[in-house]
Amino acid sequence: MSVLKAFGAYLPARIVPNQELGAKLNRTPEWILDVSGIEERRFAAPDETVADMAVAAARACLDRAGLAASDIGMFLVASGSAERRFPGPATTVASRLGATGAPALDLPMASAGGLVGMALAAQLTAAYGNILVVASEKMSAVVTREPMEQGVAILFGDGAGACIISPGDGPARIVDSVLHSDGAFAEDLRLEFEAPLAMNGRSVIMQASRKIPGAISELLERNRQPASAIKIFLMHQANQNLINGVARALAVPACMFYSNIRGYGNTSSASMLIAASEWWQAHGPCPGDLICFAAFGAGFHWGAMLVEISR
């Protein structure tokens, strides 16, 4: 059995409102808000790296868990915007946290990376003990590359999220998870080296609108729970209209989906963990609550995870 021990998050200081971005893209702030639900996002400083943000989120997570880096048996670091081909940020993150020797593995995935890391960690705690999952993205370095493409540039922001998954009993038990991939759509959302992010937005939305509710339904049916039994859905913050569409597909009110996209934009793999960290801090679960995580991203990869809070 595996449990969620703690979450952490880091958001860079610089706030980029729609007004600033819209001026560059010849779009009004209202149009950006309407098509995405985003009002502002955070951009990292020019010299701030994916690993810098990952370390900050990881430290916040370790502090909340009351653990030291030496207590971590494995590091899983997801990022689709890491600065170099190899090595990825995982070993840098582990090293800067003070860990030596524990495996530090990269998940070079985009938006689904945080969820995939959590699902893998839940299966690996018996062998590795506490596992620190971090997702960190510097999407500003990608989307502000000229020529800026407005359908992409308005969506993304920077940030990092983290969680620790531990073996044994605890208040937040990971009940089950589902993961899926389908490479038939790999070309529809991709980031080539030294090229702008390429996104077939219609295809991405069509697939996500079908696959996210599908994964959640598969997970909930397998565990004999209706969507209405979920306390909160903590989903990848891709676009407010997509979040609303997933809620409609599951026949639950959109308010059951935590949303912070208005303030941070889409932070890709980091977004679900940032949302979880915020919700855990601001609201926190109650005994008996069921919490459902879900994500979808380039690949396509998608999935969902069910967590139960002990009574």
Partner: protein
């Protein structure tokens, strides 16, 4: 009601527009559908025509115009 008329009725409901584009006109370029209305359109087509549209067929080009939707729906029946 023939298939085209049924598709137009769905399109009007999803797009919330009373006008009807030409059969070969792009529903995206003409503003009848956007990325987020497209999944709703697909869901309504499944209900109206009692068909299951597999994920592999969720290609926006198949739903680009009334004529293309008609061709697709007829291929699934």
């Amino acid at each position: 009601m023939d298939n085209r008329a049924r598709i137009i009725t769905i399109l009007k409901n999803v797009s919330k527009k009373d006008s009807v584009p030409d059969a070969d006109e792009s529903l995206f370029d003409s503003g009848f559908l956007d990325s987020f209305a497209l999944p709703d359109m697909v869901g309504e087509l499944e209900r109206e025509f009692q068909i299951k549209i597999p994920d592999a067929d969720l290609n926006p080009r198949k739903f680009e115009s009334i004529a293309r939707i008609e061709t697709y729906v007829e291929s699934r029946k």
